[in-house]
């Protein structure tokens, strides 16, 4: 059976669903027999859940206006010179 350290090294791949079949089997066998590793995994999942709460928000309308104004000013091209009359 894999050691706890080996299991910890596989946690990210397990969470990403990237473990190949035999590795996943060994991982789950260990988990079935090791409550501390289960705790560790759950803890890592909860940390991820909290991090995901930071995912994309729309910028507030005032910030959108600010961005537009800034870019309008910063990218304003000088008017073409016309013929003087």
């Amino acid at each position: 059976m894999k050691s706890c350290k080996e299991i910890i090294d596989l946690l990210s791949e397990y969470l990403e669903g990237d473990l190949p079949g035999d590795e996943a089997g060994a991982f789950e066998t260990h988990m079935a027999l090791c409550p501390p590793c289960v705790d560790f995994l759950e803890n890592l999942k909860q940390t991820r859940a909290l991090v995901r709460s930071l995912r994309c928000d729309e910028v507030p309308p005032e910030v959108q206006r600010q961005l537009r104004t800034f870019l309008d000013r910063a990218t304003k091209r000088p008017p073409k010179r016309g013929k003087r009359t």
């Binding site: 705790d39 890592l44 909860q46 870019l71």
Partner: protein
């Protein structure tokens, strides 16, 4: 754009297996903009402003500075659009510009002894009041739960920004911006394997930093209680 460049772009899209049509749409907008259609630039800004500002906000931990950096990113895109090479997706290029700006800003602040922990959580905390955010499958209930959540969020924000630069950037691009490994590798100019390694270490480090908020009064296994220490060392 030459046929060879077009072909390269298509291959990249297929290889990465993501948003080929989105990437194609971006490149069409870039072409239109270069041809003089200013509205195409506005469309690119509209498309990326939310994701980019959010990314910069988590990176630097100050919303006002994030907005400034977002503006600067778009300005650089505007000024340097002809230097964009479509062997990468447009979004890869814009994230690279934003990442470099954020890193420069953080280094500048670090030199001046300033720390970014201002108001990154303000927006989420406001929403948390309405019960929309931080729904964690915790199972614990009690009068101190809200306080605990806010506190854990604060600690998490600080923990993210205390990660070494290379781990922090990879972590935010993956876990918050949801970019695939291949794209992160392009943004940060390293291999996917390196990104996976950095991400794993960052996760262990963060878990270690905030574990007490999950365990509460439950004592963690002694075997693992120190396992996250030094997790952010290495490549």
């Amino acid at each position: 754009m030459s046929d060879a460049q077009e072909h390269t772009l298509e291959l990249k899209d297929l290889e990465l297996g993501l948003g080929a049509s989105a990437a194609h749409a971006d490149n069409n907008l870039v072409r239109e903009f270069i041809a003089g259609n200013e509205a195409a630039f506005t469309e690119l800004v509209t498309k990326y402003k939310d994701a980019l500002t959010n990314y910069l906000n988590v990176m630097v931990g100050d919303y006002d500075i994030a907005v400034d950096l977002s503006q600067e990113t778009f300005l650089r895109v505007y000024k340097n659009i002809t230097r964009y090479s479509n062997i990468y997706q447009f979004s890869t290029w814009i994230y690279r510009i934003a990442t470099n700006l954020a890193i420069d800003e953080m280094r500048y602040r670090k030199r001046r002894g300033q720390v970014f922990y201002n108001n990154i959580w303000a927006k989420n905390s406001d929403r948390e009041e309405g019960g929309q955010e931080f729904e964690i499958s915790d199972g614990r209930r009690g009068p101190g739960e809200e306080i605990l959540r806010k506190e854990s969020s604060q600690v998490l924000g600080e923990a993210i920004r205390s990660l070494p630069e290379k781990y922090r950037t990879a972590f935010i691009l993956k876990e918050i911006q949801e970019l695939p490994y291949e794209r992160i590798a392009q943004v940060l100019k390293c291999s996917s394997g390196t990104i996976k390694s950095r991400l794993h270490r960052a996760r262990l480090f963060l878990r270690e930093r905030i574990k007490k908020y999950w365990w509460g009064t439950r004592k963690p296994s002694a075997r693992f209680s120190e396992s996250g220490k030094g997790a952010a060392r290495g490549r």
